[in-house]
Homo-oligomer: 163 residues x 2
DNA sequence: GCGTAGATGTTATACTATATCATCTATGAA
DNA sequence: TTCATAGATGATATAGTATAACATCTACGC
C-alpha cells in the first residue's frame, strides 16, 4: 500500500535525488519540445534554463544575469528577462511572484497550473499541480460566475528536511 | 433553497452593493480592533485604509502616495509602505503579489487565509477564503511533510460583470 | 527627570522590470 | 537575386517597486 495517495499530485523538489538528471532531463525535454514546436532554444535561453535547473530554488533575474556574465554572455537586463519570458511563456519555467524570482518547471511534460511549496528556511521550492478548479476555490469561482484563467498558488512554510 | 452552497465561501467584491458601507464598516472595524489590541490607527494609516477601501481594486504604493500627497500628507515612499506594512500585518489589507499592489481586506472580522479572484478586464479584486489546507493542496503538503504557514492564492480571469 | 517604544521625518539607495530603437540573420515570396 | 518579414539580439535609457539608515518626536510609565 502506497504511503502517498494516488489521488493527489506529489510535490517534487524536497526529496533527495540525483539532481544531474533534473538538469539533463529538463534541457533534453526543452530541446525536443522546441524542435517540435518550431521554437528556438538559443544559447542564452538554454543557459538560463540550465541555471534555473541547477537548483530547486527560485533565482532572481539579476542573479541569473550575473551568471550569464560569468559565462561570457551579454549581461544587460533585457537578456535575462527575454530568456525568462520565453521559458515562462512556453512552460519551461515559472515565476514565483512572492519572491520576484524564477524556477525551472519540474514537470514540463505535464500540462498544468503549478502550485509551489516554498521553504522559508532553506529556500527550496517544490512544485505540484493541485487542479484548483476541482476544489472549494473552483466552486467559489463558479458560484460567483468568475472564469479562472491563470492561477498563482505559492505556499510558504517549512519543508520536511528543515523541520 | 439557496443558489450558493453554504459549504464554500462566497467571493465578495463582484456584486453590486452600497459601497459606502464597505468604507464605513472597514474603518469602524479597524478603529475598534486597534483600540482593543492597543494599536495606533494613526491619521496616515487610517487614510491609507480609506484609500484602499475606496474601491475593490488593487492600488499600487505609489498611487497611494499620490493620493496622500493630495491630502497634505508627507509623501515620501516610506510613508506609504509603513502604513501598508501595518495594515497588512494586522490583517486590514492584503498585498496582491501578482500586481505589486494592495487591497483592503473585505472580511477583517474573519481570521482567514485569503484568496483573490482578479478580473483582467475591469481589475476588480474579489476576496474569498478557500481553506486550502482542507483540499488537495493541503493533502499534497501533508504527504510531503511540508508545514504550510502563508498562502498566496491569486486567480486571474474574467468576472461575471465583464463576461 | 528619564528611559523606552512606537511613530514619523528625511535622504539616499537598492532592487525589479520594461521601453525603445538599431542591427542581424534566416526564411520564403516575388 | 532582391526584397520583405519575423524572430532574435545589441545597446541605452528609464520606469516602477521597495527598503536601509539615521534623526527626531511624542506618549507613557517609572
Amino acid at each position: 500500500m502506497p504511503i502517498v495517495s494516488s489521488k493527489t499530485a506529489p510535490a517534487t523538489g524536497f526529496d533527495r535525488h540525483n539532481h544531474r538528471r533534473c538538469i539533463q532531463h529538463g534541457v533534453r525535454f526543452a530541446t525536443h519540445a522546441c524542435e517540435q514546436a518550431g521554437l528556438q532554444l538559443t544559447p542564452a535561453r538554454q543557459r538560463v534554463l540550465e541555471i534555473l535547473l541547477s537548483e530547486h530554488r527560485a533565482i532572481g533575474a539579476y542573479d541569473i544575469l550575473d551568471r550569464l556574465r560569468e559565462d561570457g554572455f551579454n549581461s544587460q537586463p533585457p537578456v535575462a528577462y527575454r530568456a525568462l519570458d520565453f521559458l515562462v511563456q512556453y512552460g519551461f519555467a515559472h515565476k514565483i511572484e512572492r519572491l520576484n524570482a524564477f524556477v525551472a518547471c519540474s514537470m514540463p511534460e505535464i500540462q498544468h497550473a503549478p502550485a509551489f511549496l516554498i521553504c522559508r528556511v532553506c529556500s527550496v521550492v517544490a512544485e505540484t499541480h493541485p487542479e484548483l478548479n476541482r476544489g472549494a476555490l473552483g466552486k467559489t469561482a463558479r458560484d460567483a460566475g468568475f472564469v479562472m484563467e491563470q492561477c498563482v498558488v505559492e505556499v510558504e512554510g517549512v519543508c520536511p528536511n528543515c523541520r
